[in-house]
């Protein structure tokens, strides 16, 4: 019998997971999952993994009902009866229990099944927590991308908080389009804040990336919404610019990943604010020179990474700058580029054109398994599979599969992110340098 190998792609998270993580991205917020416990455990563990918070002194304090031993994402534990008769009372009790932890905002997200029973969430909130801001996601974009659900969740939060229009503050930005699902997101925020601060630009809020509610209320003061990952920012950007005075800015090759893309991103943001980017550019150049010397030392005189191959499976905002950086900076050749099914956005089109320009049009949307790359850059599950299947090396870009805590803060974005990528690249491919 022919037994086809099953692709790990069957296990991609969808918009439901995205909406839950969006709610969890607010530092002082709480998410209630209105749904069965089967939807809870994985997301609760994922939240603890990607955004550790110091709120677990005793897991036995977080038991039934609602928590089931995990402190994040309490759940209304719907059962068969609830799907027929509704579960508003459970929701009221869950809201009351959650309010005891004093969240600054509650985000209530219907599970796919709960969305069908149509409980009146607004009324439940009015009864249990009339004074608390509450965002509601009635129906997540099922089987759609994580990014789509993430944006829906964030927009619900923005609608619930409804920040008041304020006078624009010069030299201020809000970071847009980073999620807690992205690798080392917290370090990335810090790194970009640092680079912007070198130009005397202040980041007022990192939307969807760890900011507390207070920082969301500062959003209307931002002169610029600095886009990182377009897939996680487009709809949120529309929402913001329709209501407030800030303007969108970002680099047309995607996120600030790698030195060149970071420099261009800084220039774009500084340009939008009419600010001199020179101090940040110098910092990036200094780091680039430092890393360059170390690459030379690591590769030595008898081996080189040049000519090795790589594959990327990621959103275009990551795939494009990574591919360009590995090709131009590291001298590696793309053999497979997949973009999570996103093929029609302007960024995806530019990436496809760029691949054509460098003579690699055949790698567009080619599965990495078919290409046998030396290095795969993809989400945690894919990377784990690549390591298992004998791929030379793999780097997690999103949702790492192991709960590794970052004791020392790390970044994938900015100039520090460039250094992190080089370090991991050299470690993953060190076998090739011992020739």
């Amino acid at each position: 019998m022919t037994y086809n190998y099953y692709e790990i792609g069957e296990f991609q998270p969808d918009g439901f997971t995205g909406a839950l993580l969006a709610g969890e991205s607010v530092r002082d917020g709480a998410v209630i999952l209105h749904g069965p416990t089967g939807c809870r455990a994985h997301h609760s563990a994922m939240s603890e993994s990607v955004f550790p918070r110091d709120d677990v002194p005793e897991r036995l304090n977080f038991l039934e009902p609602f928590y089931f031993g995990q402190p994040r994402i309490p759940t209304t534990y719907l059962d068969g009866d609830d799907f027929v008769f509704g579960a508003r009372e459970k929701l009221v009790k869950a809201i009351s229990a959650t309010m005891k932890r004093n969240p600054s905002i509650i985000t209530i997200i219907n599970s796919p099944g709960a969305a069908l029973i149509g409980d009146n969430i607004v009324q439940a909130v009015a009864e249990a927590a009339p004074s608390a801001p509450c965002a509601v996601v009635d129906m997540s974009p099922l089987s759609a991308s994580l990014a789509e659900g993430y944006q829906q969740g964030i927009i619900s939060i923005l609608e619930a908080l409804s920040p008041v229009r304020q006078v624009i503050e010069p030299r201020t930005v809000a970071l847009l389009g980073l999620s807690v699902a992205h690798q080392h997101w917290a370090g990335g925020v810090e790194e970009l804040r640092r680079l912007l601060a070198l130009c005397n630009i202040k980041a007022l809020c990192a939307v969807g990336a760890g900011s507390p509610v207070e920082e969301y209320h500062a959003l209307p003061r931002a002169a610029c919404y600095a886009v990182l990952h377009d897939e996680y920012a487009a709809r949120i950007g529309q929402w913001l610019t329709a209501r407030y005075e800030g303007r969108l800015a970002g680099h047309d090759m995607g996120a600030p990943i790698g030195f060149a893309a970071t420099a261009e991103w800084i220039e774009a943001v500084a340009g939008a604010l009419d600010v001199d980017p020179a101090p940040a550019l110098k910092d990036i150049l200094d780091e680039r020179c430092r890393v360059s010397r170390l690459i030379g030392q690591a590769t030595g005189s008898s081996a080189s990474l040049k000519g090795m191959t790589f594959a990327v499976d990621a959103d275009p905002s990551m795939a494009f700058p990574l591919a360009a950086w590995l090709y131009e900076y590291m001298g590696m050749l793309p053999v497979a580029i997949e973009t999570q099914g996103v093929t029609a956005t302007s960024l995806a089109v530019r990436l496809q054109e760029w691949l054509t320009d460098i003579g690699c049009s055949d790698v567009w949307q080619r599965p990495w398994r078919a290409a046998q790359p030396d290095l795969l850059l993809a989400n945690g599950l894919q990377a784990a599979q690549a390591r298992q299947s004998g791929c030379g090396g793999a780097i997690d870009l999103m949702l790492p599969t192991s709960a590794h805590l970052d004791i020392v803060p790390k970044a994938m974005l900015g100039s520090k992110g460039g250094a992190w990528l080089v370090e991991h690249l050299l470690r993953e491919l060190s076998w090739a340098l011992w020739a």
Binding site: F11, D14, E58
Partner: protein, 761 residues
């Protein structure tokens, strides 16, 4: 609260909902009111919220129009606009039909919600209508049909009723629905009497109106004018503008446009409704009217019988939560998927949103990775799981199309069988799995579907693909929790594939009920397997773990069955196999520690006449055990042990402690969702408290001051100078496992009770 303002989301300046029992004349009245308001100069939008799609027919000269939900299904998000779904009718009234699924499939209520969401997202609010009129299907049968009651939609609600009891019953139900949506203030406008010319009809409706404290804002008698206008596909306002009926509608339209003081909904109790409205006259003529809640269930049972679900008679095998009607832990879908994906060369199709397959698949991969990291267990192939990728549209219109595609996708992977497992979303919309299986098979070529060429469990017979597509209606957690899913999967697979004609082989055993997500499952199997090998015994089938359909078919070759875990899940599987296949089991489950393993091995050897081999194995193990424990005793002897655990099988810990001459101070058993039967051979020898609590632990740990506390869940703020250690819920099997634990306790005694970092908290 969501602070988005009402005005920002409102579709028009004034929003009116017309509710009433199906067939009572809502659409006729709504259309005539819209027409009358438009003639009066208002910009009017009428939205039909009824799957039968005829609300605006009289405004559109009888024309049927494209509905919002049909448009939503057929059009990609980027291409959507209002023009194709807003149809201009008489006097410029803008007409929209929400539409809905075919009767018997999908969730029409959910459809209403999606239709109104789409209108909102397409900017219907910016069209600046003066009035929006929602014509909503009869009873508020589920949350979806109550959507127009939500605050951003109707700000005043009218109920159309006749004097018939069921019409008033529906009106009362609608009032109950409205009551649930009055958090921002009263919403009722009144009743509209559409007379059937029944005896005492007006009095009956008036009694009801008085009882619920609402006015009858208009009465419409039977009218030839209305019938004649309907024949023309028009409203009377259009056909007979000077007629009596048109005049009544014009007056009512004016009243409704001017109305500013809504009243609260004050529905009657069922008894009150009967006594007030009927005055007892036909009390016995109405059988129990409260059938609405079971509608969905009844529909499901009639229409959606799964193709091959476990027969009802087998459902006596229940998980703890299902049996006790307790809070459900996890969902049956997940438990079934984690079991079925252990069968090699089959595909499991998760019918539901992609997130469900993701959660299940990620759980399996993560467990395998943990086992690989900890024990070097092989990662194995990616679990053979595919998703039907149900989206919001499928949720509204039913998921049979996506299920059919999923079945084709699964069958095209050429497996020996396909298992369909349903999620709660699939369960609620009630997809007809058998129809989807039939449809999928019809869509495949005869060559693909005539037979499965390599199915070793058939004994050479050729089974069709249809016979090998097996569905399990877990319906997410509608049919139970995680453990129930494991049980249902075992019952389905066993019932479908175990060949009752197979005779047992000598010296052959089966393993039953291994924990598929535990990190030490493979190492425990290896430990047991080594002992079996030493006795000259062979493993026939691991039910259900890394096995083939052929092994399952030949399950009865196993002379004896070895239960991996004696918890409720394991016991239930054992009972099923014993009851239905006469399977014989060893009395004890996989052994942990020296004493347990000695007893287990002795019993096992007795069954197969291998006593001598067992005696030799035990003798050598005993020597190793004593040699290992001897250096540990000095530091552990007399040490006082306090155990707080959710595990219901802890004799191995007690054996070990006693062998080390430790003192067992107290055992507290916390509640567990996984078991309901604590059994210990040591019961009565130590203070034992069932239903123990965390709070009691906090009290007693200080007063008892044990040298070592054992628990399943460590906590940060443990008391100073007291040692706490974790014990596993799924302990390692075999002679050596206790030794490893004792060595750890010994090391703990050498270390300071509390690590330095704990002082920094």
């Amino acid at each position: 609260m969501n602070k988005t303002s009402h005005s920002e989301k409102a579709i028009s300046r004034k929003q009116i909902a017309i509710y009433g029992k199906g067939g009572i004349g809502k659409s006729t009245i709504s259309a005539n009111l819209s027409a009358a308001m438009a003639i009066a100069g208002a910009r009017v939008l009428q939205i039909g919220c009824d799957p039968k799609q005829d609300s605006t027919r009289l405004l559109l000269e009888g024309r049927r129009v494209r509905t919002v939900l049909d448009y939503l299904r057929a059009t990609s998000p980027a291409d959507r606009s209002l023009e194709p779904i807003v149809h201009i009718g008489f006097a410029g009234v803008a007409c929209i039909e929400a539409g809905g699924p075919e009767p018997g499939v999908g969730c029409a209520g959910r459809g209403i919600l999606s239709a109104l969401d789409l209108l909102e997202s397409l900017g219907i609010g910016s069209c600046r209508y003066d009035v929006a009129l929602y014509d909503v299907l009869g009873d508020v049968v589920c949350g979806g049909f109550a959507v127009p009651l939500r605050e951003q939609y109707a700000d005043v609600i009218y109920i159309v009723t006749s004097g018939e009891f069921m019409s008033l019953y529906a009106a009362n139900n609608i009032l109950r629905g409205v009551l649930n949506f009055e958090e921002k203030g009263p919403r009722m406008g009144g009743l509209i009497l559409n007379s059937r010319e029944l005896a005492h009809e007006n009095e009956r409706v008036q009694r009801f109106a008085d009882a619920v404290h609402l006015p009858i804002v208009a009465s419409f008698p039977r009218s030839e004018e209305i019938a004649a206008a309907e024949q023309l596909g028009q409203t009377v306002v259009q056909s007979f503008p000077k007629g009596v009926m048109a005049g009544r509608f014009v007056r009512l339209a004016g009243d409704l446009l001017r109305f500013v003081s809504p009243l609260p909904a004050q529905p009657l109790s069922p008894d009150g409704l009967e006594s007030v409205v009927l005055n007892g006259a036909i009390h016995h003529a109405i059988s129990s009217p409260f059938v609405a809640p079971s509608l969905m269930q009844a529909g499901k049972s009639l229409l959606n019988g799964p193709a091959n679900s476990p027969p009802a008679r087998l459902r006596q095998y229940h998980s703890k939560s299902v049996k006790g009607h307790e809070v459900l832990h996890g969902c049956a879908f997940n438990g079934a998927v984690h079991t079925l994906t252990q069968i090699m060369n089959v595909v499991t199709l998760a019918h539901g949103p992609r997130s469900c397959a993701y959660i299940s698949g990620h759980g399996m991969v993560s467990a395998a990775r943990r086992a690989n990291k900890r024990f070097g267990s092989p990662l194995g192939p990616v679990p053979p799981l595919v998703s039907s990728e149900m989206d919001e549209g499928v949720v509204i219109f039913g998921g049979n199309d996506s299920l059919e595609k999923g079945i084709v996708k699964a069958v095209n992977k050429n497996p020996e069988a396909v298992f369909i497992v349903t999620t709660c979303a699939a369960g609620i919309i009630g997809d007809n799995m058998q129809a989807a299986v039939d449809g999928a098979i019809r869509s495949m070529s005869p060559v693909d579907t005539s037979y499965v060429p390599s199915s070793p469990c058939d004994g050479g017979s050729m089974l069709s693909v249809a016979d090998r597509i097996i569905s399990i209606a877990t319906d997410g957690d509608i049919n139970g929790d995680y453990m129930q899913g494991i049980i249902d999967a075992m019952i389905t697979v066993g019932g479908r594939f175990i060949d009752r004609t197979v005779k047992p082989d000598p010296d052959t055993v089966n393993i039953v009920g291994e924990k598929n997500l535990a990190t030490n499952t493979e190492t425990n199997y290896i430990s047991v397997h080594k002992m079996l090998e030493a006795l000259g015994l062979r493993v026939n089938c691991r039910f259900i773990r890394n096995c083939t359909l052929e092994q399952i078919a030949n399950f009865l070759k196993g002379r004896l069955n070895l239960l991996a875990s004696a918890d409720l899940c394991g016991r239930t599987c054992r009972n099923y196999l014993a009851d239905n296949f006469g399977a014989e089991f060893l009395s004890a489950a996989f052994p942990v520690g020296f004493k347990g393993t000695k007893e287990w091995l002795t019993e096992l050897a007795g069954v197969f006449g291998k006593e001598a081999e067992a005696e030799e194995i035990i003798k050598q193990a005993n020597l190793r055990y004593e040699n290992a424990l001897a250096p540990l005793r000095p530091s552990l002897k007399g040490k006082r042990l306090f155990i707080v655990t959710q595990s219901y099988q802890i004799d191995w810990v007690l054996d070990l402690a006693l062998d080390l001459d430790m003192e067992i101070m107290k055992v507290g058993i916390l509640q567990s969702s996984w078991d309901d039967e604590f059994v210990s051979k040591y019961e009565g020898r130590f203070p034992l408290v069932l239903s123990y609590t965390r709070a009691r632990r906090d009290e007693e740990i200080c007063s008892l001051a044990p040298d070592l506390t054992l628990t399943n869940v460590l906590w940060r703020g443990q008391p100073d100078n007291l040692r706490v250690d974790a014990i596993s819920m799924v302990p390692d099997a075999g002679f050596e496992s206790g030794v490893a634990v004792a060595q750890r306790w010994h090391r703990l005694m050498q270390l300071p009770p509390k690590e330095g970092w704990r002082h920094d908290i």
